[in-house]
């Protein structure tokens, strides 16, 4: 029976309570238990593994491209295969790796750093992962019939229109990205609501780790802009399959409408790919520099303002499309202005390192290299924000060099650094330092050998997306250097995999807090228990575990004394700004419905792809049935009255 109100008792943690919670929260070690898990730590790890698999696929595609471009007049990849390879490289990295890997870290870390037992919507969290996996497989299945997407990751019309691209390639892409968008949107809403409701008492918004700010702003942006790209692909699919006239000039449509809708999504999206990664770095660097972050408030505000300005820069992808001068000037100005919050963060991180006593380990090297690559990528971005420069450089390899410095520098390097830093929390075992150094230096050398000369390739006029070039163009040596760099980088990534495999087998035990860090996740065991915390912590400062050392406040946080919430799955709900407790939330049990819903949605999208309307109808019915089972009000969650209460009611 779920009572209406209850006083949550404040107790010390104890073994009996821990055992009780373990019995309540641990999922069965069976296949069904695995498939029905809604534990944010399981989902976070699955996101990381799956996104990393897509990184490896995208990396293999990149190596194929680099082999083709290593020498002039190469015939290794025919043009049509090259088109599919470079498109799927971009799609894998940007849609299937860069954002999902950050969702993996955020999913694992958020409830731990916030002092909660799980995310706001555990079943939606599982659904979001399963849809990501199914959508990735959906897009990749196009390779089976040799018809992978082939129009670059931004899919410009008219190349993407049926008249010029009659195969199913772009239908896989259109439907696959709409499908993936459902996952991203659900995940984004989950993060925002978790931030609003699932924080330990006392964790007011000025005490949030920066990863929370990064994921929060990225999620808020995704809620607003994912519909733009889903709609763009839906309209493209209608144009291709039902002869509508959104983008086709001959029928009165506007190709530039595609570019607007795509980049209204696309530019905020690239910030969504980096802000959580910057957040991970801004939380780890202070720990390794043995001091609190310099300029917490400016960094938090810079994160939010980057996203705000990020909504107003999309036209810088369209400077060469003949738009009016006034609109070009506005978007050029905004694109230059956005360098300011980025610089605030960079200087705060540099100041933290310089005024601290940095521990030079592999994780630190990756985070420090992130700062260097961020600056190089930032400067080349700042250059192309100037319209005359952009007119010279647009669609050349200069832009390719820029995007790789930005995405490898501000996404991949923080991600690998975070693996060295947080994998011990996830698995309980440390990664090897010796192998780690080789891993770092190969990746750092590889990225610079591959992409620094590429700026010159672009300045010397090599256009992007061409499948080969003639020997007399003067680009041969630069392309060979880039290919060598790409393979060095790949060896570095391989060493990372070896290091992770060795760590899982023979890695040193991590213990709860190997870095002597100050935030809440390090107060849990490594790996954390299914219920995260025996009692709900109470937070009095930004660094709950550093209060004795810093001694900058007479208040103390409590990790071992707090609310006892042990009547089935429970956690505390707090107010958004001040984090004052206002409700005891009931969490759902593990469930197979998320997986079933994702499978039914997969059937729906396959039916749409094949125009098999009976499949669409059957899948629609299955979706409704699963939703009815999922959403049917449950008395033990307090969603409806108990049977006993209902019987006596009536009117």
């Amino acid at each position: 029976m779920t009572e209406q109100r209850r006083v949550a008792h404040i107790v010390h943690d104890n073994a009996a309570l821990a055992d009780h919670l373990h019995a309540l929260w641990e999922r069965p070690h069976t296949l069904v238990g695995w498939l029905s898990s809604t534990d944010h730590k399981d989902i976070g790890r699955r996101y990381l593994v799956t996104a990393f698999a897509f990184l490896l696929l995208g990396g293999l595609e990149a190596l194929a491209l680099r082999l083709q471009l290593a020498k002039p007049d190469s015939t290794l990849l025919p043009p049509e295969a090259y088109d599919q390879m470079f498109t799927m490289h971009g799609v894998s990295m940007i849609f299937l790796y860069a954002q999902p890997i950050l969702s993996g870290f955020a999913n694992f870390l958020w409830p731990l750093v916030l002092g909660a037992r799980d995310m706001a919507f555990p079943r939606l969290n599982a659904l979001s992962y399963w849809i990501f996996l199914c959508a990735g497989i959906f897009i990749y299945s196009s390779f089976l019939i040799g018809a992978a997407p082939n129009d670059g990751w931004f899919n410009y019309v008219p190349y993407a229109a049926r008249e010029y691209n009659p195969g199913p390639n772009m239908d896989f892409m259109s439907l696959g990205i709409i499908f993936l968008g459902i996952s991203t949107t659900i995940g984004a809403i989950n993060f925002v609501v978790t931030w609003m409701r699932h924080r330990a008492p006392g964790m007011s918004i000025n005490r949030l780790p920066i990863i929370v700010w990064g994921t929060l702003t990225a999620s808020a942006a995704n809620i607003v802009v994912i519909p733009a790209v889903s709609l763009a692909f839906f309209l493209l699919w209608l144009d291709r399959q039902f002869n509508t006239s959104f983008f086709a000039v001959e029928a009165g449509g506007q190709p530039l409408l595609w570019q607007h809708l795509f980049w209204i999504f696309g530019h905020p999206w690239v910030y969504a790919l980096v802000l959580p990664a910057i957040g991970l770095s801004a939380d780890a660097i202070p720990v390794l520099a043995r001091r609190p972050l310099v300029g917490y408030t400016p960094v938090a505000l810079a994160t939010v303002s980057t996203m705000a300005i990020g909504f107003g820069v999309w036209v810088h992808h369209m400077f060469a499309t003949g738009l009016p001068g006034l609109s070009l000037s506005f978007f050029s100005g905004a694109s230059i202005l956005i360098a300011i919050p980025s610089a605030v963060t960079v200087f705060a991180l540099i100041a933290t390192i310089f005024s601290g006593k940095p521990v030079i380990n592999t994780a630190f090297l990756f985070f420090a290299a992130f700062i260097i690559l961020f600056v190089i990528g930032g400067v080349s971005g700042f250059m192309t924000a100037a319209i005359p420069v952009d007119w010279q450089l647009t669609d050349t390899y200069f832009v390719v060099a820029h995007i790789h410095y930005v995405l490898i520098g501000i996404n991949v390097f923080p991600v690998v650094g975070s693996l060295y830093f947080w994998l011990p929390k996830m698995t309980g075992r440390m990664l090897g330092e010796r192998l780690g150094r080789w891993n770092f230096w190969l990746m750092f050398a590889g990225v610079n050998i591959a992409f620094l000369p590429m700026h010159l390739t672009g300045l010397w006029g090599m256009p992007r997306r061409i499948y080969t070039y003639h020997a007399g163009m003067g680009w041969s040596a630069l392309n060979m250097i880039t290919t060598v760099g790409a393979f060095i980088f790949a060896v570095g990534v391989l060493l990372l995999l070896v290091n992770i495999a060795l760590s899982l087998k023979v890695g040193a035990k991590a213990g709860p807090n190997p870095w002597r860090a100050g935030t809440l996740e390090w107060a849990t065991t490594s790996p954390p228990q299914p219920y995260n915390f025996v009692v709900i912590p109470t937070i009095a400062s930004r660094h709950p575990l550093w209060e004795e050392d810093l001694n900058d406040t007479r208040h103390r946080s409590h990790v071992h004394r707090g609310y006892e919430l042990s009547d089935h799955h429970e956690t505390i709900g707090t107010t958004t700004v001040d984090a004052v407790p206002d409700i005891i939330l009931k969490m759902p049990s593990p469930s197979l419905t998320p997986l079933l819903l994702a499978l039914a949605l997969s059937a729906l999208f396959v039916g749409l792809l094949l125009h098999a309307w009976w499949v669409v109808g059957a899948a629609g019915a299955a979706i409704l049935a699963v939703l009815a089972a999922w959403l049917w009000p449950q008395a033990h969650l307090g969603e409806r009255l108990e049977e006993s209460e209902t019987a006596g009611a009536g009117s």
């Binding site: 006083v7 949550a8 509508t244 959104f246 409590h558 206002d582 009611a649 009536g650």
Partner: protein, 202 residues
């Protein structure tokens, strides 16, 4: 050292899915935000193609309000009716509440029927011109949302009739009703764009 847990409230707190403290209430606002953005981008597409258009817009002259006008009034009124139903549900009046939810459902069905009649009366097909593509896509998107809203109302009708809700346990009802309000409000923007703005822009 002070004991900060001494400051944490030891008052009775509501338990479970309660009113506007429920996670679902916040989640539904998230859904409304993303769906609202979707309609924003749909209308952006409409105005973008309108301002790049050279022929007559709409192709068959100014739109008639004969069917769409009453439809709009019925849909907007249904928002008030579901609010009225919620009022009774929260007073614990199960039968009256269910009856009024059924009335809301009926009004939604009438709106869909009127829209289908309106569609049948259009002199143009789905594809062919930007206007016809926009017209059927955007009103179709809205109709799909109305149909989802009707399924939500159907669920609320069943659950209310089963006596699941009263003055304390009603968050599910309020969350479902919020979606219906959204479907009604967003129609105002679609309606103004297709049926009123051509009068201003002619």
């Amino acid at each position: 050292m002070t004991d900060d847990t001494a400051d944490t409230p030891r008052v009775p707190l509501p338990v479970g899915t309660t009113g506007t403290s429920a996670n679902g209430w916040y989640g539904m606002w998230g859904l409304v935000a993303t769906e609202g953005s979707l309609f924003g981008f749909l209308l952006f597409g409409y105005y973008y193609l309108l301002f790049h258009n050279t022929g007559p817009w709409p192709p068959d002259g100014l739109p008639s309000l004969r069917i769409s006008g009453p439809g709009t009034l019925i849909l907007l009124a249904s928002s008030g009716v579901i609010w009225w139903a919620e009022h009774h549900v929260r007073k614990g009046r199960r039968a009256v509440g269910a009856l009024i939810v059924a009335l809301t459902l009926a009004m939604g069905v009438v709106f869909v029927a009127l829209q289908l009649k309106e569609w049948a009366g259009r002199p143009f097909a789905f594809g062919g011109t930007p206007y016809s593509s926009l017209y059927f896509t955007i009103t179709g998107f809205h109709m799909a949302h109305v149909v989802v809203g009707l399924l939500v109302l159907l669920a609320l009708l069943v659950w209310t009739a089963l006596g699941y809700f009263d003055g304390r346990r009603n968050a599910v009802f309020r969350i479902g009703a919020l979606y219906w309000h959204f479907v009604d409000v967003v129609w105002l923007f679609v309606f103004s764009t297709f049926y009123l703005s051509p009068y201003l822009l002619r």
